[in-house]
Symmetry: C2
Subunit: 152 residues, 2 copies
């Protein structure tokens, strides 16, 4: 893919990022779970005290994928990177875009000198699992996610 560019996300990308977040949630059978608005994503990423960062893959002027991350504190490892979302638009998959984004995340982790980058994957998402296995990622199977919701 020519003219493919990996760069930091900018304010103008937030609309496309939200579109892709919703596409991923649909793939994960959780489309109703996306409560966030474009205004929140803007404020939380580019406002006074940003709580996440993102890199995007741009192809022919359009954002076709992104990786969104933040510093996550671990009482075992100290500061780590948590990869909250990592997504390539459906029609651009299997063309090496994910590889470029993921390897940029590894480069960022090394620049920030964290001991760990972690994320989660659905246990039935075999394509993603195979992708991560190529990087010798470690899979932990014993932990359950738990949450309490506080409806607004």
């Amino acid at each position: 893919m020519e003219n493919l560019k990996i760069r930091e996300a900018e304010k103008k990308d937030v609309g496309r990022i939200l579109f892709l977040i919703k596409e991923l949630a649909t793939f994960e059978k959780e489309e109703d779970a996306v409560k966030i608005t474009e205004e929140e994503l803007l404020e939380d990423g580019f406002g006074k005290s940003p709580t996440y960062k993102s890199i995007v893959a741009e192809y022919q002027g359009e954002v076709i994928g992104f990786a969104l991350y933040f510093i996550r504190y671990s009482t075992w490892q100290g500061k780590t990177i948590y990869l909250e979302d990592f997504l390539i638009e459906d029609k651009y998959r299997s063309k090496g875009v994910g590889k470029l984004l993921f390897e940029e995340m590894i480069a960022i982790s090394k620049r920030l000198k964290v001991r760990q980058m972690s994320w989660q994957v659905l246990d039935w998402n075999e394509g993603a699992i195979r992708f991560y296995e190529k990087y010798n990622a470690e899979f932990g199977e014993e932990w359950l996610n738990v949450r309490l919701l506080f409806p607004k």
Copy 2:
């Protein structure tokens, strides 16, 4: 338990917190996974740009439990609270200390107006699972933790 106090963690508590972190890791059969030092915990919680917060349970002048948390960004929910560690010293369990700490975490979540507090639990830790079930916590079973380590 008389003289039991729930309060914000202070610098002087970090040594006890690290002791309890190591105790929990041993219970979780992961004692070698604790790489963090007391200096890092001090800097990361009480330095120039803190990356976590903590509340502690103090009994007769000693910290016997704590809950350590941070703001975690969710592309579905916006800002949420992530409960990274929550622990009562072995000999003080089943006396209601955990209930006080956990309910303070719920109160903090509501004060911060987040949509969600989340955490993880080992799938064989039945005592903890029963505790969380009392609060109608939701358990997700399909997600695997994945990580890449960057040894220092």
